[in-house]
């Protein structure tokens, strides 16, 4: 019973990722796509969590944390790029 619930959850999360991909492909503006990528990352965090329960392992908890950080950094980097065209700015006194 519990395993079935987990599998259903995994299935639904996968559907959500697919939906995120749809937005990423379709998305009229670049910001839509970036948000879609962010969504996919978050869904992946959830998915990894469920997989960990399903597999009865704690080996993937680092991956969850890392993905959380990276998703944030990635979104910020894209945002900055879209806004300014650069990610790392030069020093002011150059």
């Amino acid at each position: 019973m519990f395993e079935t619930v987990l599998l259903v959850m995994l299935f639904l999360l996968a559907i959500a990722i697919l939906g995120g991909l749809y937005r990423a492909i379709k998305g009229p503006s670049m910001a839509d796509r970036v948000i879609a990528l962010d969504l996919i990352s978050i869904m992946m965090i959830a998915l990894i969590g469920v997989v960990s329960i399903y597999m009865e392992t704690d080996a993937f908890l680092e991956a969850i944390l890392l993905l959380g950080i990276l998703a944030f950094i990635g979104a910020v980097a894209f945002g900055k790029y879209i806004e300014r065209g650069v990610i790392i700015e030069r020093k002011r006194d150059d």
Partner: protein
């Protein structure tokens, strides 16, 4: 190591000190020191003469690369020894002549004599070598030293052209010969010529017999200027005259003759050998004599005459090979006369042609020109040169009382005998042989007369000459004088020569008949057909010379475009332009084209070989079950890939790549690889960030970029590559030959004290890989730093300037 080994290498060793002598003792002409070398070799070789005349042979062997059956082995028999004597004897005369011919102040004598000594060793090596690989080595050395000598005056364009042409043609022949040698060694399982000859009976039926024969003949024909490879010789006349006299009349061009004679015991008796050698020889004889008549340059005339005379000898070797078909008896003896004529004329030609070249060199040296239209009336000014030229020419034309007469008579005998052969399908074409031979002799007579009359008779034209003509110094005349004396002496006492020289040579060429020769050369043998043929030659030749002005114009009508030199030149140009076109066609400079080649070749070769070897077979017995969410994740993977491929915006593509990488990480999770998943996530993020950094510097995509539309060809290639890789991995997955070795690593905790197996493998079991990966990252980091920094530094420098 015998003395013979040393004497063959002696010139090469002597060549080392020649430049020192040239620099240290400039007062004495370097040639005087060099003269000792060929003279010593000549005297040493003379000591073999009694032994060889007695019908004996000698073999001296010295291991060189014994594992591959390559020995520096020398074989002394009649053929090799006579060639050796000609080479060293005329070599000495040529060195003597060159002392007076080349100025010690203006010429680079050290180059000249070093090349000459190289050539001397090479030529001696060719004629004495028993090991075919060593023979080939010396053979190529003759080509190289000849190349160097032709281009002796390398500042002149024509010299370089002539040298290149000679090089290309003779090296081409040399390669053919190398192939033949390899075939022969496969047939006989030996590199030794004598061991090979002993097996000739068994090997006639071998399937490589004919290819080896043809390749050997290509080698011999290119070296011996046979039709159509004769074209390099006239251009080789740009060499200094002593070289023309030595290499291009007496020695090197006879290396091919030597080769044919040497291989006659092996190939002779076969119909193909008879026809090819005789046919090409006769064609060369006729062609050379026809073209010699129209030449206006004395050396060119002599070059074509050499071509013609070499064809003469070659055709006789072909005719004489019929003797081996019979192997003994009267018939064999009848045809062995042709071999006698060949070896006799070989010796005769070396004498009179060497002297003629030297005389032409004298004329050139003393008048400043070799042009027949400017020369004339030199008889009373240069009486000795005139006498020498007259004797040489009449001998070449085949008149008594000179040695050319004897060999020409024997030539006619051989041709008439060959015409009556009833083997080798001779009934049809046999009659042509004497006719061609006779026609060629008439033209030989004409150009011989042209040579003497146009140079020495007629009106003296001092205003057209560069120098005031006068007789040459005695030193220059000694060498042609000695050769001319030989020309006359051989006529009067041919049988001494026959005993010591010709009989041993014939014994080498026709070993089954050895010891049975009873040679008696006579100048007069009654009113035979040969005599009438000679009379016909003289009469018709005289008539043709008298009417020369009327028919020489015929040559002008000969289409220039059809000449072989023209074919050679346009062939070279054509090859160059074709290869340039091919290169331009496929080397486009676009990496996308090169990628196409690589992928297409990969698909074709791998795919075809797997298909032909039945490599594709998919076994799903061991496949795991697939969950619904895994299918959906795969769909996401495919979707993001499609997004990357289809999109027109770079940023969208990068987002697609990001999605792709994250989903791959997710698959790592699902497939229980936590370390991989962690690394993949981090690397993917960094990569995406790096792409974004790069994009800032990239220009905007153009609206109509070529890559934007779908290129059908690329689509096919990409599809094929993907399909192939998928098929290969599916097939490979179904065919595990061995169980995995991962069981071993499962004990990681006991073996390495590690709870994490992946990390234990990376840092303990197989740490060398990790070390090198660290190096790779180091290098990449340094390279990135260097690329950015150095470029910035240069830009700043440019701005400062």
């Amino acid at each position: 190591m015998s003395w013979l080994h040393i004497f063959i290498l002696f010139p090469l060793l002597a060549a080392v000190i020649i430049p020192i002598l040239f620099k240290k003792i400039p007062r004495v002409h370097t040639g005087w020191f060099v003269l000792v070398v060929p003279l010593a070799v000549f005297i040493y070789l003379l000591t073999f003469l009694p032994m060889v005349a007695g019908g004996e042979t000698a073999m001296y062997s010295l291991p060189w690369i014994p594992r591959f059956d390559i020995h520096y082995s020398l074989y002394v028999d009649g053929l090799g020894l006579v060639f050796g004597l000609i080479i060293s004897g005329i070599g000495a005369l040529v060195v003597l002549y060159s002392i007076y011919y080349l100025s010690k102040h203006r010429e680079a004598l050290h180059n000249f004599y070093v090349y000459l000594m190289m050539f001397l060793t090479a030529m001696l090596g060719v004629v004495f070598s028993d090991n075919m690989i060593v023979l080939y080595l010396f053979w190529e050395l003759t080509s190289i030293s000849s190349f160097l000598l032709i281009a002796y005056w390398y500042a002149r364009r024509q010299s370089r052209y002539g040298a290149q042409k000679a090089m290309l043609i003779t090296i081409f022949g040399g390669f053919a010969m190398l192939a033949a040698i390899i075939m022969l060694s496969i047939m006989g399982e030996t590199f030794s010529l004598q061991a090979l000859m002993a097996q000739s009976d068994q090997l006639v039926q071998h399937e490589l017999f004919l290819p080896a024969m043809i390749l050997i003949l290509i080698g011999a024909f290119t070296k011996s200027v046979q039709f159509p490879f004769h074209i390099w010789l006239p251009d080789a006349m740009e060499a200094p005259t002593p070289i023309s006299a030595y290499l291009h009349s007496a020695t090197m061009v006879k290396a091919g003759i030597y080769l044919v004679a040497r291989f006659t015991p092996f190939f002779g008796g076969a119909m193909e050998w008879f026809w090819i050698v005789t046919g090409v020889g006769l064609l060369t004889l006729l062609w050379g004599s026809l073209l010699a008549v129209k030449q206006r340059d004395l050396k060119a005339l002599l070059a074509f005459s050499t071509i013609s005379q070499l064809g003469f000898i070659m055709s006789l070797l072909g005719m004489g090979s019929a003797a081996l078909y019979y192997g003994g008896g009267d018939e064999a003896h009848l045809h062995s006369m042709a071999i006698l004529a060949a070896v006799f004329h070989l010796v005769n030609h070396a004498t009179f042609k060497g002297s003629l070249f030297m005389v032409v060199g004298i004329v050139d040296h003393e008048t400043g020109t070799r042009d027949l239209r400017k020369l004339g009336g030199l008889m009373s000014i240069m009486p000795i040169s005139f006498t020498l030229a007259l004797i040489g020419s009449l001998s070449m034309a085949g008149l008594p009382p000179f040695n050319g007469f004897l060999s020409k008579e024997l030539f006619f005998t051989g041709a008439l005998n060959a015409a009556e052969l009833d083997i080798f399908r001779m009934e049809t074409y046999g009659a042509l042989i004497p006719i061609v031979a006779w026609t060629a002799s008439i033209f030989t007579f004409v150009y011989s007369i042209v040579l003497v009359f146009k140079t020495f008779f007629g009106k003296y034209q001092p205003e057209r000459l560069e120098k005031e003509a006068h007789e040459a110094p005695w030193g220059m005349l000694i060498s042609p004088l000695i050769l001319t004396v030989l020309v006359v002496v051989i006529f009067f006492v041919p049988n001494v020569l026959a005993h010591y020289v010709l009989e041993p040579m014939m014994a080498s060429i026709l070993p089954p008949l050895a010891g049975e020769f009873d040679i008696h050369i006579e100048a007069w043998h009654g009113f035979e057909p040969e005599l009438f043929m000679t009379i016909g030659v003289v009469v018709l030749g005289a008539i043709l010379y008298a009417t020369l002005r009327k028919w020489i114009v015929l040559y002008n009508n000969m289409p220039r475009a059809l000449s072989i030199t023209n074919a050679y030149n346009s062939g070279l140009k054509g090859m160059e332009s074709i290869s340039r076109k091919v290169t331009d066609w496929h080397m486009t400079g676009f990496s996308r084209d090169y990628l196409r080649y690589i992928l297409v070749i990969f698909v074709v070769i791998t795919g075809a070989s797997l298909f032909l070897l039945d490599g594709f077979s998919i076994d799903t017995a061991n496949a795991a079950n697939i969950n619904g969410f895994e299918i959906i994740l795969s769909l996401v993977l495919v979707g993001s890939t499609a997004m990357v491929v289809i999109t027109r915006s770079r940023l969208t593509a990068v987002i697609g790549v990001g999605v792709l990488g994250y989903i791959v990480a997710l698959f790592f999770v699902v497939l229980r690889a936590p370390d991989l998943a962690l690394t993949q996530l981090a690397i993917e993020t960094v990569t995406v960030a790096l792409f974004l950094v790069c994009f800032y510097h990239l220009p905007r995509l153009r609206e109509k970029e070529e890559g934007d539309g779908i290129n059908v060809f690329n689509l096919i290639i990409a599809g094929a590559v993907g399909l192939l890789v998928t098929l290969i991995s599916l097939s490979a997955n179904g065919h595990r030959l061995f169980p995995a070795i991962s069981d071993f690593y499962e004990d990681a905790y006991e073996l390495a004290g590690a709870g994490n197996m992946v990390n234990a493998i990376l840092a303990d079991f197989r740490a060398i890989d990790t070390l090198l990966e660290i190096f790779v990252l180091c290098i990449a980091g340094l390279a990135a730093y260097a690329l950015i920094k150095l470029r910035l530094a240069r830009r700043e420098q440019d701005e400062n300037q």
